[in-house]
Symmetry: C2
Subunit: 366 residues, 2 copies
């Protein structure tokens, strides 16, 4: 029998695995609510440590450190889905971990994720498991000669992905990924990329933000706009898909579901690309664009607290500041109404997410 | 010759004297902008330490600790005006201190403050210096028999104040304050209490928030509403007074000027009650009510950065959560659109500011 989660009150400590910008913004949102944060990550130089009451610098496999961490916190969450399953299971024996192990199991592996979605009658791109180089040629043929080869695990921002148009090139890519298990995905001729972001509370309540639309550059999210330029019925369906997924995972916390919008003969259709069992870059606009940011909403959900308003303050554009773009900080500060966020990373690197800027276009208020 | 202030860039460390909720919210706002905070305060249990990258627990007179603090930071500010003048002077020899020594000198002492204001042609309540018990009776007579006795220094939230209607009671109050230098103030028959909050940059630029209106209970701020229910010309004049004061102090940072609105034969007149050379409780509504909170604005100003938009998002009501009122946190979280802030104080005490809640009434957006 599962023990009921403890009641979390202001003053409690939230344990966060991972110390990047998502952990940092979670800790900042928790602080607003009177919650302390304790960050656990292998590298002391990461930015979330600077805003947290407590910190542990240790490997995710360090059981002694994990025990001390669990004892120092009241509930545990994470900023990225690639924490080792064994780490999550070890911690879950000691403190509630939200989102739970099922969410990690279904989202850490692209093959498992797609099968899980299809079992829910949620459409995905066509896919084939690629466990050996020999599997590539027949899969490619079945997808009319083109597809995207993706490692099943540990991919992000386009890493571990390659567009494939012939079997030899596919085999080379498979080798370059280290021959780890992969999938070949059919290419989806999408019109738009959108995110459905919502939160599910411990009590099963669910609240979604307005569906937003994403643009990528070099496989990294570049811009998110809310609302997405899609039909109201499509937006409603996108929110329903996110809720369906969250319910199936008995999920607690913020979930982000990336989808493609395909315009076919039946109008706008939705294809789920991937699930992020965490706060997500495409939800950063909620900090300045709603009364309850995705970070606060996540802290509320994992604490067993009521979920907050997701009402949008206007039309919103969020731009990531990648690499050198962060050097534009002073220019952005000069721009009337632009909301600058910098993540406190000590070094600018190409492709590194350094910050973001949100512009909210409100209607006249009086 | 005064050295020019150094250029502050993201990644710099802001030194903050004081570790209460104002220091905490300053640190949180700085973190958004990629600034680190280092808190200096005598008591380790205070809430700002929980959200700062660095901290020093030491007395304000500990010169060795002050030297180490100054060396660890790039610019220094404070969350309350009662830091010892010697501490500020000692630090100012080592790092820029904003707001500067002149602001502290003119605002730490009620007599000096009122004379400073009158020299600027800014109206204050009538006042008389009370250096001895014998001075009370004649001053009281000149004020038609009633006044408020206030210690010249270290008063806040009604502490060191007494309403006086006869000389004997005044002499008793003077004795109860320890016979420290005091002033007697004429009672102002005000219609409203308002705050003018603005920021002055290093370059002399000034931006004011919309004038807000305050209600007190037991001498502690209870509610702030923005905008204040005053005539546009009165609001404009209030902003001009704040700018005039800031200019006269060669001020850098956020300044709050509390004023009384007296409705006389000439319409609405403004009487300045006191100046706070810092972020102020009556400006907490700016966190949820504007794109640039007073805390971010202060961090921008002291860093020599451009000041941000002060545009109001709607009609706004901010209620302090004093003492046991903080126990209402769950009920507030259930209220659609209410923005809860808790300060992470470990113990509820009567009259202690534990948090606040802001309600923003937006017009319809689309």
């Amino acid at each position: 029998v599962k023990k009921p989660d403890p009641v979390i009150e202001p003053g409690a400590t939230i344990g966060i695995l991972g110390a990047g910008q998502l952990g940092r913004m979670l800790a900042l949102a928790g602080a607003r609510l009177g919650l302390k944060s304790h960050i656990y990550a292998p590298d002391a130089g990461e930015p979330a440590f600077d805003v947290a009451a407590g910190g542990t610098v240790a490997a995710y496999e360090d059981e002694a450190a994990l025990v001390r961490f669990a004892e120092a916190v009241d509930v545990i969450t994470y900023e990225f889905e690639n924490i080792p399953a064994a780490t999550a299971a070890f911690l879950a024996e000691r403190r509630p971990v939200h989102p739970g192990p099922l969410a990690l199991e279904k989202t850490q592996d692209r093959l498992i994720e797609k099968r899980f979605l299809n079992d829910l009658d949620v459409a995905t791109a066509g896919f084939a498991a690629i466990d050996s180089a020999e599997a590539i040629a027949p899969a490619l043929t079945s997808f009319s000669g083109a597809g995207i080869l993706k490692t099943r695990r540990f991919g992000y921002d386009g890493k571990g992905q390659a567009m494939i148009r012939d079997a030899a090139k596919g085999e080379a890519a498979f080798a370059s990924f280290g021959k780890v298990p992969a999938i070949l995905e059919r290419i989806v001729p999408f019109a738009r990329e959108i995110s459905a972001i919502g939160a599910r509370g411990r009590d099963g309540s669910f609240r979604a933000y307005d569906i937003c639309e994403n643009s990528h550059a070099n496989h990294i999210l570049s811009r998110t706009e809310a609302p997405a330029a899609i039909k109201p019925a499509t937006a409603q369906r996108a929110g329903e898909i996110a809720k369906c997924i969250a319910d199936a995972l008995d999920y607690v916390g913020v979930i982000a579901v990336e989808m493609f919008v395909v315009v076919g003969t039946k109008g706008e259709e939705l294809i789920v690309n991937e699930i992020a069992p965490r706060v997500h870059n495409s939800g950063h606009w909620t900090i300045d664009g709603t009364a309850t940011s995705q970070f606060e909403q996540h802290m509320r959900a994992i604490s067993g607290w009521p979920l907050g308003s997701t009402e949008r303050r206007g039309r919103i554009v969020m731009d990531n500041l990648i690499g050198d773009e962060a050097l534009r900080w002073r220019e952005i500060l000069q721009e009337e109404g632009a909301c600058l966020h910098l993540y406190g990373k000590s070094e600018i690197r190409d492709g590194r997410k350094m910050g973001h800027v949100t512009r909210v276009y409100m209607k006249e208020t009086g």
